[in-house]
């Protein structure tokens, strides 16, 4: 099948307006007869479901959590970008577009990114109208901050809980539609398969996680808004339940999976403490604005961090990247930390951590404060005391969180941090309309691949999730639905539903009947280790080939030796997890295949074979300026390429020196 992104043929800044002006519409009377299925209730799912409900469609929303408000969008800390230019500092739709494409290392689609930048401002308007309490200035207007080293202040935020506030806004809008009868909410339900009738997505098979029963639901179209797949690495900053199942089942039913190897590793997370570790916690990127990252100059330095004098410290980011210093992009900072730790300079009990030190910032702010107060007496304790107050005001909640987890007080001793998997840029391939290669099957938010290329910029994930849900899908879905007004609701006793349900049933029974000796969790951990070691921050041909074989072997072992306790017809989180891990075991192989295929370094994907003499990532635009979209077949994955053409944002090499 030829990939057609269906990008409107006109000037870049006219494409979206042109599309909206010409798209087919559906009358209110017809909308009432059209049913939709939304999988996932995070920013993308909740905003899409609420908006489509408002328009009059009959929407069913499914989430595996006990409430739509728990979707993992809730954990986003930093903020949301929007090209409002409220700060009068030169921001514009074009700049946001340009920086997103450049930040994504020229592996995203210009038209999609431009549209995202265009709708970014509307998102803020909508959220404020919903009662999202963004940070404000004393005059009562919205406050902005700069995020991830951008030169403009375009990030809107609500303390360190922006994701929570945005999600609760969308959740409120969703619940409003539930109360009006436009949306039906199915909590504690997990999608297990897509039902395809005459080549179109027409429904799903979902498992009611409380009763364990399989249920059938019809929809004229379905939207996959199930988030990313970072948990394929076992340890990530994703929630424990975050999974790829909905996206993977869609893939197996014909939706292409694009750029799966583009995973983002966030440089500032709390390091792993041991084998018991179940997940990792992010410390907001904003900490790098004031913290200095270092490791001891000497290998195996046994002294405590605060006892190591300045001359024995290696501020390696400042050394390697004098222009950007500690504010280099996420991928660069992450790799640099790995390089030091692999070299034996790591700190902490596991030696897989680097220091993020606020001592200098505390001193600097303390001095400014004493100056402000006109203090002539500049005892060191006074300066430190005042400096700590400033730091507490800026990062208090993060410091508290760090102390809760580690038991160390980061005001007195340097934080220990290490990179962790955080976000996945890859996902279901979608066209300009966010439709996958299966007609009637859409994908929004992190679940799709479209806007972040090979690397996502800070504060852009929230923007994309809400942009897709509030402002893109209502228009693009209308194009498809206009042709569906004559399609009556299909009964769920249709043979296609029988077939899909039987498939799901068989698979669940197979999982339960292995009755082996190893827990699901243990398999997941082993998978994570393979992925992290061989397909993590830095990848090479040999490692990836090994990983593919190891994953295949592990998958075989899983199906021969997994032990799933409990029964099918009851609340059984072990069974839920088993299904998810089984899917991760398949996806993992595809990630490695994709990583092996892409013999260039770009964004979060670093191939050791493709680097400059100084060890920096080297892109290969001649050969790899394409989206790798993988088609699932019984005999293996087939690669389809969507060539990326850049008309406005011309590719250049990133340079942070």
């Amino acid at each position: 099948m030829e990939l057609d992104a269906k990008i409107p043929v006109t000037e870049l800044d006219q494409k979206w307006a042109d599309y909206k002006n010409h798209v087919n519409l559906v009358s209110p009377a017809n909308k009432r007869k059209l049913e939709l299925i939304v999988i996932g209730s995070g920013l993308a799912g909740a905003s899409a479901a609420a908006t489509l409900g408002e328009l009059g469609y009959k929407v069913k929303v499914f989430c595996f959590q006990d409430s739509p408000r728990r979707a993992h969008s809730i954990a986003a800390q930093g903020g949301i970008n929007a090209a409002k230019n409220y700060q009068n500092d030169g921001d514009s739709v074009f700049r946001l577009f340009y920086e997103t494409v450049k930040g994504g290392d020229y592996r995203s689609r210009e038209a999609n990114v431009y549209r995202l930048a265009q709708v970014s401002g509307n998102i803020i308007d909508q959220c404020v109208a919903q009662g999202v309490p963004f940070a404000r200035e004393y005059g009562g207007l919205l406050s902005n901050r700069s995020f991830g080293g951008t030169q403009v202040q375009r990030t809107f935020y609500a303390a360190g809980q922006t994701g929570q506030q945005l999600l609760l806004g969308a959740y409120g809008a969703l619940e409003r539609q539930v109360s009006m009868g436009n949306v039906t909410m199915y909590e504690r339900h997990e999608m297990h398969d897509i039902v395809i009738i005459d080549g179109k997505a027409r429904g799903i098979i979902a498992r009611n996680l409380v009763t364990g029963k399989l249920e059938r639901y019809f929809g004229h179209a379905a939207l996959i808004c199930s988030g990313g797949y970072a948990n394929v690495f076992y340890l990530s900053t994703n929630a424990m339940g975050s999974n790829v199942t909905a996206a993977w089942k869609s893939h197996k039913k014909g939706a292409y999976f694009a750029n799966p190897c583009f995973t983002q590793i966030h440089p500032t997370c709390i390091p792993v403490t041991g084998d018991h570790q179940s997940k990792l916690t992010l410390m907001s990127e904003s900490l790098r604005n004031d913290g200095r990252i270092w490791v001891p100059k000497n290998k195996g330095d046994k002294r405590r961090g605060i006892d190591i004098p300045n001359e024995d410290r290696d501020y390696y980011l400042e050394r390697r990247y004098p222009a950007f210093g500690n504010l280099v992009p996420r991928d660069v900072a992450s790799r640099a930390a790995k390089e030091r730790c692999d070299g034996g300079y790591g700190v902490g009990t596991t030696k897989m951590a680097v220091y993020l030190d606020f001592a200098d910032a505390i001193k600097r702010y303390g001095k400014i404060e004493t100056g402000k107060l006109g203090m002539t007496d500049t005892k060191n304790e006074t300066i430190t005391e005042l400096g700590k107050e400033v730091i507490a005001e800026k990062y208090g909640n993060l410091f508290e969180m760090y102390e809760k987890i580690t038991g160390e007080n980061p005001y007195d001793v340097p934080m220990r941090i290490y990179p962790a998997v955080h976000y996945t840029m890859g996902g279901l391939w979608v066209d300009y309309e966010l439709m996958t290669t299966v007609p009637g099957l859409y994908s929004l938010g992190e679940a799709n691949f479209s806007d972040h290329g090979a690397n996502r910029l800070g504060a852009s994930a929230l923007m994309q999730g809400l942009g897709d849900g509030y402002f893109v899908i209502p228009y693009t879905l209308s194009r498809y639905m206009a042709d569906e007004i004559r399609t009556n609701a299909i009964s769920t006793s249709h043979p296609a539903f029988d077939e899909a349900e039987n498939g799901v049933k068989e698979r669940i029974e197979r999982l339960m009947n292995v009755r082996g000796n190893e827990s699901v969790e243990s398999f997941h951990k082993r998978l994570g280790k393979i992925m992290w070691d061989k397909c993590g921050m830095s990848r090479n041909e040999k490692g990836l080939s090994e990983a593919i074989n190891e994953i295949k072997a592990l998958r075989k072992e899983f199906w021969g030796n997994v032990k799933v306790s409990g029964e099918i017809l009851e609340m059984n989180p072990e069974l839920d997890k088993a299904g998810r891990v089984a899917d991760f075991l398949e996806l993992a192989e595809l990630i490695c295949i994709d990583a092996l295929n892409r013999k260039e370094s770009c964004g979060g994907h670093f191939r050791e074979e493709s680097q400059t003499s100084e060890g920096e990532a080297l892109r290969n635009d001649e050969q790899y300026s394409y989206v790798a979209a993988w088609e699932y077949t019984d005999s293996g994955e087939i690669l389809h390429k969507e060539e990326l053409t850049f008309e406005v944002a011309m590719p250049s090499q990133r340079n942070y020196k």
Binding site: K84, C127, P133, G140, A158, T281, S565
Partner: protein, 266 residues
């Protein structure tokens, strides 16, 4: 930070499903690391139970960073355990010492029926939000975000109310199983913002009405909700709700929007 290992006795509530009666089961936990989180200790227990062909303990959890509000355990008589302003998932084992016995129970409230073991059904909260915990603004209706300045102090207060994670610790910790802190927080958030003003009267009436239908108890102004709230939501929110409700009743122009929620609770 000194790390150490400890042996513990865990007393955990086990209940097959909503209908069957529950009971406590005692487990000896060996070599638990002080660095583990409380839920990671449960992971260790579950791994062991699975390998012993026993049923692992079921509990709600998801983000494990204290923000999603899924985790919900009543530990040694305290919602979310011994640390204040904390969720179970952020509780770490260094809070305990060798030889301790820990009692773990589910949230107990008639409005939160048990699904299994430590997992309860908190849909009552969603239904309360459905009754009015939102601002009725369709997508696309919004005016420019900066067209309405908002008093910064009020905005910050609204934010403090909005940090509620909907975990239900307030209900669990309340001797009366009252949900007023949860409801008051949402009502406060929206009452403090100019955007929430047009619907404030109908909102408070409908949300309180739904809360009453769900079978929660009445507030006794004991304030254990505030003390146990992982986000430190203040009981001032309850006072504000009380004012809003009285104000809504007193106003003559009040017309109740029929409560749209279809469910009548438990």
């Amino acid at each position: 930070m000194e790390h150490y290992t400890m042996n513990l006795t865990l007393k955990v509530w086990r209940q097959k499903n909503r209908q069957e009666k529950g009971h406590f089961e005692t487990y000896d936990m060996k070599d638990i690391l002080s660095e583990m989180s409380f839920l990671e200790m449960f992971d260790v227990l579950n791994e062991r139970l699975i390998l012993e062909n026993k049923e692992p303990v079921v509990f709600d959890q998801d983000c494990r960073e204290g923000i999603c509000g899924a985790c919900s355990m009543y530990i040694d008589g305290r919602a979310h355990g011994p640390w204040q302003k904390n969720t179970v998932c952020q509780l770490h084992m260094r809070a305990y010492k060798d030889g301790d016995t820990i009692v773990v129970e589910p949230w107990r409230s008639a409005a939160f029926p048990i699904i299994k073991d430590l997992m309860v059904d908190r849909k009552a909260f969603d239904r309360i939000i459905e009754a009015g915990g939102f601002i009725s603004v369709n997508t696309g209706n919004a005016v420019d975000a900066n067209s309405t300045p908002v008093d910064r102090a009020k905005s910050e207060e609204a934010f403090d109310s909005a940090t509620c994670i909907g975990c239900g610790a307030c209900v669990a910790a309340c001797p009366n199983s009252s949900a007023v802190l949860f409801v008051g927080a949402k009502i406060s958030q929206l009452a403090l913002l100019p955007q929430g003003d047009p619907e404030r009267k109908a909102r408070v009436i409908n949300m309180v009405d739904q809360m009453d239908k769900e079978g929660f108890g009445n507030c006794g102004n004991i304030y254990n909700c505030e003390a146990e709230c992982p986000k430190g939501i203040s009981v001032e929110n309850i006072a504000r709700m009380n004012r809003e409700y009285l104000g809504a009743f007193s106003s003559s122009e009040m017309q109740t929007r029929p409560n749209p929620a279809k469910h009548n609770g438990v």
